[in-house]
Symmetry: C2
Subunit: 477 residues, 2 copies
């Protein structure tokens, strides 16, 4: 595994160059976040004047630090950036995150400095994230590093995420206390001067902490290199891409486009499709899909069964399933007979199974279990609207308890109290979904991935041959 990249997510020592004693400044907030989020390693702030920041010993110069430094995070003013990088490289540090902005994104002059920095980093055999980025999170419990200025708690998960937009990363992090979104790795790649999306592909494939990974991208630095490991079968974990610039105006607005896979958005679509890379339409679909892969088994087929206490939302959920290429499962007679024992006579034992508002936690769980045991069913959606007479939390948790190799995904319309109660008490901490179409999109994307993997595996030699000729990967349809 690449050691320099590993150190972005698993550093034992982090140096923060440009740490500050001034509340509200980035240099202050970074130290605050790293400390308050419970970094397990050693934090080494650098500030020419301060002796301590947030109660942590502060070094006056980089040279003063007489320890091995795994990762240097730099947020000095732009005019000091180059000499700071020089000193860091001279010190032999191999992993650098350059937060400071004002380089390529501001025009020619900035681009020239950025190029010079890059040359120096490369010459030193180091790797650099940024410039113009918002930091990195390594959420493994042995690390617990939140080196960003968003002082939100970090929940360790099995997802890798890289964002070309710092702001988009902030929009997600700002809400983690509510969404309980869990990452293993979270990284804002900024201008992608050195480290770019392609650097994480093999790394995340190899890292056992990562089950699935996602990108927000405005441009591909080298589209051929991005899809190559998927085509060649070197990267097989599910990868979800949210690519901005779907429309002409959007593409224009994404001014940092390099054009590698640019030009036509339809070409991007076709190539990602070929490589088995999932393309999300929006942030919510991207987040829902990684949560799907992280938390649920992949369905073997497209037959979905729905259990609900809510007629209307149930029908909207059926519409969503069919719109996303799924099929409402035909329940077996055996299943229907078993359901009859549980479902109220005025409810429905047909799919969607309707327990009516009185459906209890036990009834929901029992129905879900019966449905997972039906060979005609590949996936179950439990859709629960909290009525006045049945408390929400027990329903969600009873359903969580079912052990099955088929996914059971829960849509919930709870009272405001129920979601915090769930996150506080649940032994399973599985994600909940709040729209009628979320599970349908997740299942569709899961099925797309497994189908693509099958196609790629079966035709691997042909793909390899074609790719070797000219990097062409659009020939087998």
């Amino acid at each position: 595994m690449n050691e320099a990249i590993r150190n972005f997510f698993y550093p034992k020592t982090v140096m923060v160059v440009g740490a500050s004693t001034k509340p509200g400044s980035i240099g202050y907030e970074f130290i605050n976040t790293i400390k308050s989020c419970g970094y397990k390693g050693e934090l080494l702030p650098i500030n020419p004047k301060a002796d301590e920041i947030h109660g942590i010993k502060c070094y006056h110069t980089i040279e003063e630090v007489d320890k091995t430094v795994d990762l240097a995070v730099v947020m000095v003013p732009k005019k000091f950036a180059e000499e700071t990088i020089d000193t860091i490289l001279a010190r032999g540090i191999k992993s650098i995150v350059l937060i400071t902005a004002g380089f390529k994104e501001t025009g020619e002059e900035g681009a020239a400095v950025e190029e010079r920095l890059l040359a120096k980093v490369k010459a030193a055999g180091a790797r650099m994230v940024g410039p113009n980025c918002m930091g990195v999170i390594g959420a493994d419990p042995s690390v617990s590093l939140n080196a960003t200025f968003v002082a939100e708690p970090v929940y360790p998960g099995k997802v890798g995420f890289a964002s070309q937009s710092g702001a988009l990363a902030v929009t997600i992090l700002n809400q983690t206390r509510i969404t309980k979104f869990k990452f293993a790795h979270f990284i804002s790649v900024g201008n992608k001067a050195d480290i770019n999306e392609n650097d994480f592909l093999h790394f995340w494939q190899e890292d056992e902490n990562i089950k699935t990974f996602a990108y927000y991208l405005e441009s591909f630095i080298n589209g051929t290199e991005f899809v190559k490991p998927f085509i060649l079968g070197e990267v097989t974990k599910p990868c979800i891409v949210l690519k901005a610039g779907r429309t002409e105006s959007g593409m224009k607005a994404a001014s940092s486009h390099t054009g590698a896979l640019g030009g036509s958005d339809r070409v991007v679509d076709a190539i990602l499709n070929q490589a088995g890379v999932i393309r999300a339409d929006d942030v919510q679909e991207m987040l829902d899909t990684v949560r799907g892969f992280e938390n649920f088994p992949v369905p073997a087929g497209k037959n979905v069964a729905i259990v609900t206490n809510s007629g209307g939302p149930g029908i909207l959920c059926v519409d969503a399933c069919e719109s996303h290429g799924l099929k409402l499962a035909d329940l077996s007679e055996e299943t229907r007979n078993k359901l009859k024992e549980i479902v109220h006579p005025e409810g429905s034992i047909e799919n969607p199974v309707d327990l009516l508002p009185g459906g209890t936690a036990e009834a929901f769980a029992e129905c879900c279990k019966i449905l997972t045991e039906d060979p005609n069913v590949d996936a179950v959606i439990n859709l629960f609207t909290e009525p006045v007479m049945v408390k929400g939390y027990p329903v969600l948790e009873e359903v969580n308890k079912i052990e099955s190799d088929k996914p059971i995904v829960q849509i919930v319309y709870p009272l405001p109290e129920t979601t915090p109660e769930y996150w506080e008490k649940s032994q399973y901490q599985r994600p909940l979904f709040f729209t009628n179409d979320a599970p349908a999109k997740i299942f569709e994307n899961m099925l797309f991935h497994s189908k693509a993997q099958k196609r790629l595996t079966e035709n691997r030699e042909e793909y390899k041959r074609l790719f070797a000729i000219e990097g062409q990967c659009l020939l087998i349809s």
Copy 2:
């Protein structure tokens, strides 16, 4: 204005037949909700044994009540429903909500009872909502009636909403404490034995408390009668329909379909389109669109300007605008010169205007104001991601203060504290949106409505002539 329908939303006296002293029962929860949500009129619970419920005087029989009763809400067990309705009608009460379930939706026997009830209601010149529904809300501050079993606070607004699904109504009400969704009228129509979607069209058009209205429907009771007032110009307020059963399986699941406009969903689409009725794709779009009409002026054209501190979300917002038929406005030179005074030199004075993370409340408000003054701009989106150095609430409220006849809609990615702070402090209480595409959908729907109104007005005589011949409304494309 139809008095019997008026009494569903503005009753001075409400009788609850089937009130109960048993916590958790529907008859108890209804009284609890009506009381705790601050009903301004007189509440008259009926229970053969109790003398008071929740401290409110309880009558033992309907006959005992010696007052004018504007509205009777009935939740007695099914076997007592018919005699209860008989007594209510004999008492001369003209507006009835029958909550009790177990009629047409359970088969032939239930359908026969429902038909008998309907005949009696009609013979008495009364009107009935339900059976099999979850109640009614009349949120006008002079009424404050929440006659449902969802004991959530009611925020008075200018929106009418009727739902064919009680559960769907509950999903929306369960979250009002968080969304602060505001209704004027909210009604669950259940089996639509008597009162159906068509009964509210003229009523909501005439009621000055209503600015826009929406339906969740699984079937049209009479599609021709639904579109007729729109085609003839009798109903011109914006109407949004979320129609379940878009897909074949969805349509099958919506077992209560009457087939009036049924059959092909594409026909439903075409006819609603012809009549200028907005069709929403999902619950969120329906709610966002009514909030749009309720709170913002309709844009005169499709040219949108975006102000943001967040590059990535800004580009996704541009993509959303173009996908929904809008255009990124070409800003005038004058506008760009004015923006130059405010925007950081490393930001952008092109559309989307980028203030960078340091953009202050004053800068956001000033930019939005400048953009509304540009004749090339029809609508403004303010897209704010809360960074560590700029507090969210002041940004939102400064932008709210701008007076303009152009809409300024805000997308916000706040820290969890900011939204409650906003609802607590804001003088304006304008809705906030949390996805990059919400304003684009709202503007698209607003423009659809005004364009359709123009088309209908200009061709009115032709529409009237064609409609008179055979109710045909698909002839002018």
